[in-house]
């Protein structure tokens, strides 16, 4: 059983290359009896960090095939830090930046450009969905960008405690990564209400005030949050 560290990333200096403590405990704690069950099926004995050792043989809970298990772990490490301060800092910053970039790319023309449409001079800053192909930062680039940022912020932050919570508890974990992803992706896509403002501005030559547009956006968003919270017990859990 050999554990080989990722060599491809080790050239980048600020990325912390170290095995998470959970993997070390997994590797050292368990005898080979269960790995023999893996060997019976696959023909090879090797270390598998996603193996649910308590439930092997139960096809509803754990698959004996490493190809299936390699996609997702159905074991949980409750001591792995998840909701840490650095994850929230990175998540909030990335949510603001990615949402701003996507909203900016959604309205691609320069503000104040005038063009003639239907014998009328209209402002093209609202002609967003006339652009094809459109550019947008989607989920996989967010996932890939947030990993070096997270590892960087994990290596930069000092090892101090703030309000009883550690500022930098060990290396950047998968749970923190998923938390950052969730916070970023939720706000990453521009609101559809932008289309209403755009259509009003281009085709009907109407323009509301800024406060009215803000109230319009929020009154379209908040009922959705309320409905999703009210139906959370039925359609989410």
């Amino acid at each position: 059983m050999t554990l080989r560290l990722p060599i491809c990333l080790s050239t980048v200096r600020f990325i912390r290359i170290s095995l998470p403590p959970t993997l070390a405990t997994f590797a050292s704690a368990q005898p080979c009896a269960i790995d023999r069950a893996v060997e019976d099926v696959t023909g090879a004995r090797f270390f598998d960090p996603n193996l649910d050792r308590a439930r092997i043989g139960d096809p509803n809970q754990d698959s004996p095939y490493p190809e299936v298990r390699s996609a997702v772990a159905n074991t949980d490490d409750p001591e792995m830090p998840c909701s840490t301060i650095r994850a929230w800092i990175l998540g909030v910053i990335m949510a603001v930046i990615i949402a701003g970039i996507n909203q900016f790319l959604y309205v691609p023309f320069t503000f104040g450009t005038i063009f003639i449409f239907n014998d009328r001079h209209v402002n093209t800053s609202a002609c967003s969905y006339f652009r094809y192909p459109s550019v947008m930062i989607t989920q996989i680039p967010i996932l890939l960008v947030s990993l070096p940022l997270g590892r960087g912020i994990a290596s930069i932050l000092p090892d101090v405690e703030i309000f009883g919570a550690k500022l930098s508890p060990g290396p950047f974990t998968i749970k923190e990564h998923v938390l950052v992803l969730a916070m970023t992706i939720v706000g990453a896509y521009p609101a559809y209400a932008t289309d209403i403002i755009a259509v009003q501005r281009v085709f009907y030559n109407q323009q509301w005030s800024f406060a009215c547009q803000c109230l319009f956006f929020t009154q379209l968003s908040w009922p959705c949050y309320v409905f999703s919270r009210n139906t959370a017990c039925m359609v989410q859990y």
């Binding site: 996603n50 390699s70 997702v72 359609v235």
Partner: protein, 87 residues
């Protein structure tokens, strides 16, 4: 007055949506709860996050091989170079 009455339109929309929800609820014990079931949208992210964080071994048993991170980096670099070609 629309051609189809309002109540019929509303019932059509609600019934099609709720049939989907109820089929999902009926199949929940087969399709949602088992840990072996990973839905195709989530499978991509699960596999990528596992590659980046959890799975660090290379090869199987006595057989060697490259790790998943290294394979991912090869594909990423190759894809970036291929994307420079005019498509």
């Amino acid at each position: 007055m629309p051609l189809i009455p309002r109540i019929d339109q509303w019932l059509l929309v609600m019934s099609t949506q709720l049939i989907g929800f109820s089929m999902g609820g009926l199949c929940q014990s087969f399709l949602v709860v088992p840990a072996s079931m990973i839905w195709p949208e989530g499978l991509v992210y699960c596999a990528l996050l596992n590659t980046l964080h959890t799975v660090d071994y290379a090869g199987a048993g006595e057989r060697g091989g490259i790790s998943r991170k290294r394979f991912f980096m090869y594909v990423l670099i190759g894809g970036a170079i291929y994307y420079l070609l005019p498509g």
